[in-house]
Symmetry: C2
Subunit: 381 residues, 2 copies
Amino acid sequence: MTDPRLTPLAASLPASLPATVPFTGPETLERRSGVPFRARLGANESGFGPSPRAVEAMERAARDAWMYGDPEVHELREAIAAHHGVEPEHVVVGEGIDGLLGLLVRLTVGAGTPVVTSLGGYPTFNFHVTGFGGRLLTAPYRGDASDPEALIGLAREGGARLIYLSNPDNPMGSMHGPEAIRRMIEGVPEGALLVLDEAYGELAPPGSLPEIDPADPRVIRMRTFSKAYGLAGLRVGYAIGLKALVAGFDRVRNHFGLGRVAQSGALAAVRDRDWPGEVARRVVAAREEVGRIARAAGLIPLPSATNFVTIDCGRDGAFARVVLEGLGRRGVFVRMPGVAPLDRCIRVTVGPAEALAAFAEALPGALEEARSLADGGTAAR
Amino acid sequence: MTDPRLTPLAASLPASLPATVPFTGPETLERRSGVPFRARLGANESGFGPSPRAVEAMERAARDAWMYGDPEVHELREAIAAHHGVEPEHVVVGEGIDGLLGLLVRLTVGAGTPVVTSLGGYPTFNFHVTGFGGRLLTAPYRGDASDPEALIGLAREGGARLIYLSNPDNPMGSMHGPEAIRRMIEGVPEGALLVLDEAYGELAPPGSLPEIDPADPRVIRMRTFSKAYGLAGLRVGYAIGLKALVAGFDRVRNHFGLGRVAQSGALAAVRDRDWPGEVARRVVAAREEVGRIARAAGLIPLPSATNFVTIDCGRDGAFARVVLEGLGRRGVFVRMPGVAPLDRCIRVTVGPAEALAAFAEALPGALEEARSLADGGTAAR
């Protein structure tokens, strides 16, 4: 019998709230297997680490951790605004892009509100949309890239309030150039907002992102310190958009949610102009190395504008999952896309040489195991 | 003209979302005045700092900040559960009590849902209730303490879904003993949940908190690392409640919201069993000192079970505000309750000797200024 005090809560859960969490953490997998990973290449974290200046700033801030962070995030917001050449009123800083997506969805999506995204796109966005009762409309990928025209078409037909696009794309690593994105923005129907998730933006080839026009009411751009800046463990992201939209976040955000240590680390990170570029150079080299490893094993690495390489395992999703699990048993944590046909791939975050060496060592065995299992399965039928 | 794309958002703001932020940060006041505070005694932070072990843990974690925190917060959750002698499934860890209050309100409050709290109680809770469209019903304080009987009575009459009580109380510092709280829990009407905010719990006199019964569906208990643990700048809090209720948080929380640095610091803090007790001893001594300073200035310090002393300035809210502003101009940041008659007081966080010395130095001048202004005002009428 359900306790009557929980009835409204329990009754509302199946209808409106997500039943599953967006991602299983590597720590959970380690606890299940009892064996720690040798190489953490699944969460698109930056194994090249944060700027040494950010590390110093966090160490200093540790002693000041008894003080709340500035609820207006003033210094960091100003520094981000200066970095992008926009006014601070166009910038909202939050608890990662995940947190900002949640707030944006809360501000714009209610029961039944149509929202457009790619089929197989970022699960955490979907988690928020479902959690606020929105209705997801999905356009399939096209040639391993999101399909801007299909997304816009769907938004027009369905009267969508939000259109989500991750560019560069997660989980496929593909990217649309500035012209394609500008065309997409031109196509945003009245009453809709394009959520341009540029978490991997600093890792894209120079000049490949469209310029930021903060006064454009049709788009909100999102960036993070979790990828190129190497600060996933701080959880700081930001969005750039219309002042009125940015002001809306103040009405719903957790004002003291960004702690002093997080603000200090991110501030030092954004002030160190060289680090993201340095990381980007290492990422390019590491992507090539992951590509070589994949090809040496007879697999096809897809082109990537991010800090991961999505690798086509050449068969179906069940096969790729066996490869992924085999890598896991060999101490290498990777992830894979969630829906067909993208799920024929595994997604391998790039990292320092030792981590890639562990991947190179583990891949052939994991593949052999998967092939023998798949062929054995066929023979037994 | 409002941009059509913002119309639904802009139109919904006045009706359902809070127009003001719950608190102005000391950093904002410093920016306005151009002068930094000498003593930060307004936010009930712990000037005695975090455990040195927590500082070490954060420093170590700074170098690992490229990794996301465990989305299940496994180790910290287990450590908290062990500390309280409950199963981990009764514990949810989140981004401060503020964050957990927001999630709880989201899970339980919709448009028009009645919610009970004290008139002049914690503004951030009200911010969340208003933000999700709930309807606040308030019971006045009684003798500078919250009024459990009135709150329960109001909940019965109004069919409230949540009843909020901060115990020990913020902003008054008063406290109800375990018997009174047990009676209150017995009185919680069917369909309602008592939100027992025990942010200052570790600072209350030993034995003054009711035992935790995690299987009681009528109450959820909230604790934080921001007060006795001295980690306000990390933003980590937790709640203990029925397993089914705790499981509900997993459907709405920002799964990667608790970063690696925050988890590491809080874990070291909860494992250092001695620190909160050590802080509590220093707080008792510092409370006595603040009391002496207040009495020496002719004011009445109220009894406190927290790390702050609420001081009756002896006149009305306008007078207390002038005292507060005078302290601010003298470099001492304090806060005050928001509604009459509580607002005849200022609220002074305790802290190390230097900070209290700054308060002792500033108070007489601020008071004299306020008295002369008030008397001059009267004479001019």
